[in-house]
Symmetry: C2
Subunit: 364 residues, 2 copies
DNA sequence: GCACGCTGCTGAATCGATAAAGCAGACCGA
DNA sequence: TCGGTCTGCTTTATCGATTCAGCAGCGTGC
C-alpha cells in the first residue's frame, strides 16, 4: 500500500468553520455536552449530516487511548483450524457481542512467529485492539502463557486448567464425553469401545479422552480402555479405524473426539462392509454442521461454539470496563443429540425427510 | 468499554530517552534512514527490543493517513449469509492476501442501516480501513451503488453487470450453470429438468438460471423450461421439490443453484420413495463442503470462493497502490465435480471409502 | 584560509479528536 | 450596584509517529 490520491476526509474543523465555532465546540456539540446551546448543537448536527462527517478513528483512538476494536486470534495458521466450521460459529458469536458494543472485530492469524512478540501481544501493545479472544490454543503454546502473565485483557476459548490466572470460556468436555460414552454403554449395551481422541496437546483432546475413560471406569471397564490418538481430521479418523480393524481386536462402538473423524471412520467401516450402527455404533462430538447431513446422521455432543464465543466476548467487555477483576473460568454444558449412528431410533423413520430441528436433544 | 487501568505502552519517546536522542531520530533509526549513523541505529534497535516497543497504530495511522487495515463487509446481517461455509472460504482468501501485505482484516456486518452512511462508507471515511471487500450484495442494494459511485477503494465479490464502474471478482455462473445442465442433458439423457434457482434479487440467482435456460435452449427444449425460485436454504430446496412433486408434472433431473438446496431436496425425494439418481438426477452448485459428505454425494460446480477472495483482495491492494486505475471485472472459471447424485459412476465403487481428493474433476 | 558539502542529529509542525481550564457576558440576589 | 453564579463558548494541551527544515561540526578542495 503506497501512494493514492485520497479524498481528504471531512473533519471536525470543517464542521466548525461551517457553523462558525471552534472544533472543540463542535466536538462537544456532537457529544451532546450540556455546555453547548441547543441551537449550536442543532447547527452542528446539521452540518455534520450535510458534509457526511464520520469521526476519524485514528484521531479518536489516539486521544482516547482506546481503539474501539477487539481481535479474534487464531494461533495456528494451520488451514485445518482456520478453515473449520468451528471458526464460523466463533466468529458469529464474537461479532454479535462486538456489534452490541459498537466495536470492530479484527481477525488475525498468528502469522509472525518470527518476531519476538506474539501476534497477541503486538496487537494489544500497538493499540490496534483493546483486547483479544484467542481460539484453539495448544497446551504448550508459550505465547499464551506470557500473554496471560502480562495481564493484558484476554479471554481464551477452551479450558486451561494449567493456567489458573487465565480467563477462559470452555465446554464441559469431560462431562460431555462421559455422557456420550455412557449412552453407548447403557442405552445400547456396547461394551467394547474404541476412542479416537483429538491431539493430546490440546486440552480438548485430553478432556474428551478423560471423559471416555471415566465412563468406562464407572462401569468396571477400565481395563478395556482402548484409545487411539487422532488429529481431528477426517483422514485421521479413517486411519485410526483402519488401524483398529487391522489389529484384529474387536469393537462394537466408537467414540470420536469430533464429527469429522467420525465421518472419516464411517466411510471406512462402510467400505469394509460393516454397518453403522449395527456392527459398530458411532458417536461424534461438536455438531457444527456435518453430523446432521451424513447418512447415517451422527449422534454427537453439541457444543455451542457460538454461545461460547458470545460469552467470552461479553466477558472481555466486562474486563475492559473494569467490571471483572480476577480470572474467571466458565464452563458451558453440552447437549447430547441422538441420530442414527448410535442405533437410536431416528426421530423420523429412516428415509423420511428429517427436518434439522427434529433431532432429539437431551441436555445432560 | 469504559475505564480500565491500562499499562502505559512503550513509545518512541522511551526509546529516545534511553539512547539519549530525540524521538524523531529514533523514528528515523527504526525506519533505517540513511541520515542516521549505524551506531545510533544499533542502539535504537537494541533499546526497542529490550523495551518491547511496538509502534502505536493510531499514532501511525493518523500521521500516515493510512490505517493499515482492510475491511471485509457482509451486507445482510442475515444469519444465512454470515453463517454460511462460503464465508469461511472468503475469509481465508482475504486473510491470506492481507497477511502477505502485512495488513489487518476487519470483519464487519452492515448492522447500522439506520444511520445515513452505510457500513461501507463509515468504515472507509473514518479511516478505520483503507479499502473494503464486499460480499454477497443483493442486486438492489443502493448502498453498494453509492459506494461505487463515490470512488472509494472497493472490490465486490460477485458479478455486477449493471454497475460498470465497479471493480468486482465473480465466477462465470452462466457458463457454469449451462455446463452442469448440459451434463444432465447429454451425459445422462435427462430431458425433463427442474431448476430451483437462488433468490432472483441476487445476480448469482439470475445468472445460474440463465445458464440453465441457455442449456435447454441449446437442445431445443426452451419450451420445457421449469424454474422455481428458492432462497439458497436447505428448507427452500425441500419446499421447491415438494411443490414440484405435488404439481404432478414429471421430471427426471433437477439443477439446484446451490448444494444446500440440493441436499434439502434429496431428503424429500428419499422420503417420497424416489431414488437419486435413478428416478431424479440431482446436481448442485458451490462445493463448499456439504456436497462431498452427503449420501449420495452431490455432483456440483465447484466455485473457489477462496481464490475469488484472494484475487479480489490482491486487486484491492493494487487499487490502493495506485496500480489499478479503471474498473476491472474478473470472472473465474468454475469446475464440474461429478459424484453420485447425477448418476455418474462414482470415482470409487459405491460404499467404498472415497477420499476427498478422489472426486472426478472436469474443468469446463 | 575559507567556502562548500556532507553527516547526523534537533526542533517544530502535523495528522484529528477531545478533555480541561479559562474567560467573556448575562443574569441574579441582596 | 456589586460580588457571584451560569451559560456558552474559546484556548490550550495531549495522544504517538513521522516528516521536513535547520543547523552544528567536520572534512575537503583550491
Amino acid at each position: 500500500m503506497a501512494p493514492r490520491t485520497r479524498t481528504r476526509g471531512v473533519t471536525l474543523e470543517d464542521i466548525a468553520q461551517r457553523v462558525g465555532i471552534t472544533r472543540a465546540a463542535a466536538s462537544m456539540a456532537l457529544a451532546d455536552s450540556t455546555r453547548i446551546s441547543e441551537k449550536t448543537k442543532r447547527a452542528v448536527r446539521e452540518a455534520a449530516a450535510e458534509l457526511g462527517y464520520v469521526p476519524n478513528s485514528a484521531g479518536r483512538a489516539l486521544r482516547r487511548q482506546r481503539a474501539g476494536a477487539i481481535a479474534l486470534i487464531v494461533p495456528n495458521t494451520s488451514h485445518h483450524v482456520f478453515g473449520h466450521t468451528y471458526f464460523m460459529h466463533v466468529l458469529t458469536g464474537v461479532s454479535s457481542s462486538a456489534n452490541a458494543h459498537d466495536v470492530q472485530v479484527i481477525v488475525s492469524t498468528n502469522a509472525d512467529e518470527a518476531g519476538r512478540a506474539s501476534a497477541f501481544e503486538r496487537i494489544i501493545r500497538s493499540g490496534t485492539a483493546d483486547g483479544v479472544i484467542v481460539t484453539a490454543a495448544p497446551v504448550d503454546d508459550a505465547n499464551v502463557e506470557t500473554l496471560v502473565a502480562s495481564g493484558l485483557p484476554v479471554v481464551l476459548l477452551g479450558n486451561f486448567p494449567y493456567l489458573p490466572e487465565a480467563t477462559s470460556v470452555g465446554a464441559d468436555d469431560v462431562a460431555a464425553s462421559r455422557l456420550v460414552t455412557e449412552h453407548l454403554l447403557t442405552v445400547h449395551g456396547r461394551t467394547r469401545l474404541l476412542h479416537v481422541s483429538g491431539p493430546l496437546d490440546h486440552q480438548t483432546g485430553i478432556d474428551r479422552r478423560e471423559g471416555f475413560l471415566a465412563a468406562l471406569a464407572g462401569h468396571g471397564l477400565a481395563d478395556e480402555a482402548w484409545v487411539v490418538e487422532g488429529d481431528m481430521s477426517e483422514e485421521s479418523g479413517a486411519a485410526a479405524v483402519v488401524a483398529a480393524l487391522d489389529s484384529g481386536r474387536p469393537f462394537d462402538g466408537a467414540v470420536f473426539a469430533n464429527d469429522d473423524m467420525a465421518f472419516g471412520a464411517m466411510q471406512v467401516l462402510r467400505a469394509r462392509g460393516l454397518d453403522v450402527p449395527t456392527d459398530v455404533a458411532v458417536v461424534g462430538f461438536d455438531d457444527f454442521g456435518l453430523a446432521r447431513t451424513t447418512t447415517p446422521g451422527i449422534t454427537t455432543m453439541r457444543v455451542s461454539a457460538e454461545q461460547m464465543a458470545r460469552i467470552a466476548t461479553d466477558t472481555l467487555f466486562a474486563i475492559l470496563a473494569g467490571q471483572q477483576a480476577g480470572p474467571l473460568h466458565q464452563e458451558l454444558p453440552v447437549q447430547l443429540v441422538t441420530r442414527d449412528s448410535c442405533g437410536c431410533p431416528a426421530p423420523f423413520p429412516r428415509g423420511q425427510a428429517a427436518a434439522p430441528w427434529a433431532d432429539t436433544a437431551v441436555t445432560p
